[in-house]
Symmetry: C2
Subunit: 335 residues, 2 copies
DNA sequence: TTGAAAGCGCTAACAA
DNA sequence: TTGTTAGCGCTTTCAA
């Protein structure tokens, strides 16, 4: 059985194709009688409008693209769920693209999205220089919303968390517990979360009048391995820190693993606070104190921005900053 | 700037639209000269072929649908990655749909996929009765590959793990360590993994001549909460088990949490083995012994089956069973 | 309130 | 080797 077309429905119902189209699109000026006849025909034939045709004709679509670096990262999972639910509630569908933080892959997906006539894009960009590839997409009429990270010289609607404050909360908490030598495992500095979280770390120290010791800051790449390596470097140094602030979830997991490998007891020998909470953070050994980002809500908010933009293409750009929350568990020595 | 069309390219290059199309599709019989002229024009105009039009014309697409119950479940994450990578390598794109194990949501997504003229579907069905909604999709010419779960009265290409053997391995391991009263937290019995894993549990007991004690089997729903509740029920019973076999990752996480809440020490007071490994299973407290499914490979295999099916629509259905692996860590008392 | 007809961007059969 | 032409399924004037 081949797919039924609008013509089949029209023939079956004894009306014109235009009328079927009107029923499909809830136009006024269709008699109740005709409407039911057409609807019966659709049901009978198992008709589904062909989206390719619709899109071709309407020059628009009900698909939005969501471009994220890593779907295995719990933060992006929550975000994806938030985006999907919000899109679903607004009758739109989501195409999920995973870039692995690889600009080439991102570019390929952008091409796909453009060719698909996607209605809009929610993007966690791989690099601040991505404006070069993003600009043509926007010029082709596809609006872009940034999530979590920003891009140089490219204004756009943006949703992110207050990274500075999140890091500040974490480090303040450690200070309030009496830790003196708090080390930071910082993330990729060219990415928004990377430098903002480091700034929060500095802010907290400054506020308490603690001089910054540059040997207590090391830079990783937001992945598991670098967390592990840097935590071990810190603990093997002649004068190791008494607490560790780690700038994202994966590096925190790595640090945890690295410390375990060295037989270091947390928080007795070193306290640990991570950025990004995870559903199972309380089941880790020890339960992890972490700065929680509202991932689901970030995703929802991004969809809202996109929908607003679709309605009002020329409205001024909005930037929404959401507040993170410190979740205190055992790894900082307070619980 | 509006999207450039094939006509613009043709005009710019001074050739016909058909020729541009030929260049686009790598047809033979295009002179090198013309080809380069057309390619220059495309580059110059920033041309991307319109997929809606292509699809409308070709009556086929390069998009495959992937329908999974829960993208926050680490197993499905690995699967998604496997599917995406394999699809990507074959020039196809993946639309990811999250059903929450909700048949209505699944049905909605099936409608979308059908209307999108998706080339094929990889489905983790929500229910054995899903054949009713799946059959019309397949009849409309969209092949379906099952992943992880099967559906009644609906033959199709299928990829899954050897659940019986996985569970068997886990329970055998516990038996070999000397545990006598091994309880099972079983999963939803109408789902393939649910009953197969329970069978593996029975098989292992039978093989060792251990009589089955029905009080040592409780049924959950594969979610966190039921794992927590059932673990606690077991441990509060007058004659608690000395080991726990839990049928999936989420319930294992729940059991872990429940046991912690009761102050029970694992594995000293009760050993724990879960089905499904997780990237951070070694960082849990205690490190978790688990049956590892090759999620990534399952995903890749599913894509292969789908591509084969696309080539040969009438070939006999294939069922691929992949082997799981027991990863021994601390929670079973062996490491 | 409905129908006829044109055309969205692309591909493929046929002709040249 | 290239161009002409018809048409994929749908929406939208315009006319009736």
């Amino acid at each position: 059985m081949a797919q039924a077309t609008i013509r089949d429905v029209a023939d079956y119902a004894g009306v014109s194709r235009a009328t079927v189209s009107r029923v499909l699109n809830n136009h006024p000026y269709v008699t109740e009688d005709v409407r039911t006849r057409v609807e019966d025909a659709m049901r009978h034939l198992g008709y589904h409008p062909n989206r390719a045709a619709r899109r071709l004709r309407a020059q628009s679509s009900d698909v939005m693209g969501l471009i994220v670096p890593d779907i295995q990262n719990p933060l992006f999972q929550s975000i994806v769920r938030g985006v999907e639910d919000a899109a679903y509630n607004n009758g739109m569908n989501v195409i999920l693209c995973n870039t692995d933080d690889n600009p080439d892959k991102q570019e390929a997906y952008l091409r796909v999205m453009q060719a698909e006539q996607s209605a809009g894009l929610i993007v966690v960009p791989t690099h601040p220089g991505d404006g070069r590839v993003l600009a043509p997409v926007r010029e082709a009429g596809i609006p872009i919303v940034f999530l979590d990270r920003e891009v140089d010289d490219f204004e756009a609607d943006t949703v992110k968390v207050d990274n500075v404050r999140g890091a500040y909360l974490a480090v303040r908490h450690l200070l309030s517990l009496g830790y003196k030598r708090i080390a930071a495992i910082a993330g990729t500095q060219y990415l928004t979360p990377g430098y903002e979280r480091l700034r929060g770390y500095y802010d907290a120290l400054n506020e308490c009048g603690i001089p910054v010791d540059e040997r207590l800051v090391k830079f990783g790449n937001f992945r598991i391995d670098s967390g592990r390596a840097l935590a071990q470097e810190f603990m093997q140094s002649p004068h190791p820190p008494d607490a560790l602030f780690v700038s994202n979830n994966l590096m925190t997991l790595g640090a945890l693993r690295g410390l375990h490998e060295m037989g270091i007891v947390i928080p007795d020998q070193v306290a640990l606070v991570g950025f990004d909470d995870m559903p199972w953070a309380g089941d880790l050994n020890p339960p992890l104190t972490a700065v929680a980002q509202p991932g689901y809500e970030l995703g929802q908010q991004a969809v809202e921005l996109l929908l607003k933009r679709l309605e009002q293409p020329n409205a001024p750009y909005r930037k929404v900053i959401m507040q993170p929350r410190l979740v205190v568990r055992g790894s900082c020595g307070a619980a």
